[in-house]
């Protein structure tokens, strides 16, 4: 019974995606903001005083359509094609162990209503990177600072060779230290709590999560962002994801205070009491 309901819901959602894709063709262009980075003349990768690539700037990734609208997202894709940039590979599914995959499927069956983000919890790494809100990188001597519009969160990441501290408390964003490998900034993140999802609905992890982020500024306009999530408690092998970060030269960070008027909390409670699919679906 539960399985049939899940299939019906999933099929309905897939149809919705296809419908939305068709609708997206009819929506108007946005009216203000930066031009697509790809439309500018080619410029070389900027360098910091120490000769390393300078990652500083305001960047976006992930759901371009949500952040900057259909027309500009399409223009960016066209610029990618014109520049010969290969499209990203299809995201690989998370290599969960059977028990963890069962937990993920339970969350999917509950339509994502348990998402910590919907309750305004701080997103972890790497999910905060792929939120459709911009973030800023400030690269300076001995450290890199990441400022996220989402939750006005920050990460101060030493690049001076120091190790992780020995008094880490489990946290949403974990503890980060970084090093340079050639032109790539490699960020090592540990010390997570278990209160975040990694990428989408039900992408759980344990406090053994170990994330490695690799930031490579492969053009003036882009950073190739590769992330490896290793968690022996839930994965059979490390989970890899690749994203493109896009420079937004005319952007500025704004305040995003999630909890201001989060009516979803009350609606969720109502749905959990009244929606048969949610009442019957197991809560993991």
């Amino acid at each position: 019974m539960i399985r049939r309901t899940g299939v019906t819901v999933a099929a309905g959602m897939l149809i919705s995606v296809l419908t939305a894709a068709a609708l997206a063709q009819t929506l108007p262009p946005r009216k203000e903001g930066g031009k697509p980075a790809g439309s500018r003349p080619a410029r070389s990768v900027p360098r910091a005083a120490d000769g390393r690539p300078d990652l500083s700037g305001i960047w976006i990734t992930g759901a371009l359509q949500l952040l900057i609208g259909d027309a500009e997202a399409a223009a960016i894709r066209q610029a990618d094609a014109a520049a010969g940039r290969q499209p990203l590979p299809r995201p690989e599914p998370p290599p969960y162990k059977p028990e963890a995959e069962a937990r993920r499927q339970a969350y999917v069956a509950r339509r994502g209503i348990d998402d910590p983000m919907a309750r305004c919890f701080l997103s972890g790494v790497p999910r905060i990177t792929t939120r459709p809100l911009p973030f800023q990188i400030l690269q300076m001597r001995g450290q890199v600072v990441l400022l996220y519009e989402a939750h006005h969160a920050f990460r101060v990441i030493p690049t001076d060779g120091r190790p992780h501290p020995d008094d880490i408390e489990p946290s949403f964003l974990g503890d980060s230290v970084a090093r340079w490998e050639g032109n790539t900034l490699v960020v090592d993140v540990i010390g997570f709590n278990e209160k975040t999802w990694l990428a989408g609905v039900g992408t759980i992890h344990s406090d053994k999560l170990h994330v490695t982020e690799r930031y490579t500024r492969d053009s003036y306009e882009t950073i190739r962002y590769e992330v490896t999530m290793d968690d022996p408690e839930v994965f059979t092998r490390p989970w890899h994801q690749v994203e493109i970060l896009r420079l937004r030269p005319n952007e500025r960070l704004r305040e995003y205070e999630c909890i201001e008027n989060n009516e979803d909390l009350l609606r969720f409670e109502n749905l959990l009491q009244t929606d048969p699919a949610l009442k019957d679906a197991p809560r993991r």
């Binding site: 299939v7 999933a10 929506l27 009216k31 599914p93 999917v108 998402d115 919907a118 995003y256």
Partner: protein, 130 residues
């Protein structure tokens, strides 16, 4: 059917990118709705805006619809201006999808204004991006 379910699961279960919550949690992407009416109120707040539209049927009965939209930061990046783009008294047509339970609640996708211009107001169904 299994293949369809698997495709949807991968697409929505791990690949979807949300700003705040899953679309499917509250809304039904198989139930589109379009209404025309007069804006009664706009709540320009995070994590979503909400706006209220008074819709009059053929019998003259007024029903107030409530629509959810993108958060303010995403709206301004797509051309909206607070207290300018949509104000109480404006006549608008809203396209979106119905909520699963509340009969007069919807997830808005696009607003058409009296002068015929259109702006995106929320994410496509299924991407869950609000």
């Amino acid at each position: 059917m299994k293949a369809l379910a698997l495709a949807a699961s991968i697409l929505l279960g791990t690949g979807a990118l949300f700003a705040h919550h899953s679309f499917a949690a509250e809304y039904d992407g198989t139930k589109p709705v379009t209404v025309t009416g007069t804006v009664a109120k706009v709540d320009w707040t995070n994590p979503h805006i909400h706006f209220y539209v008074d819709v009059t049927d053929e019998a003259g009965v007024v029903t107030q619809w409530k629509f959810e939209g993108y958060p303010p930061n995403m709206l301004v990046r797509q051309g909206w201006k607070r207290d300018v783009t949509m104000r109480p008294g404006d006549v608008v047509t809203v396209f979106g999808w119905r909520a699963r339970t509340d009969p007069n609640l919807g997830a808005s996708r696009e607003v058409t204004f009296a002068n015929g211009s259109k702006l995106a107001s929320g994410p496509p169904a299924g991407t869950g991006g609000q």
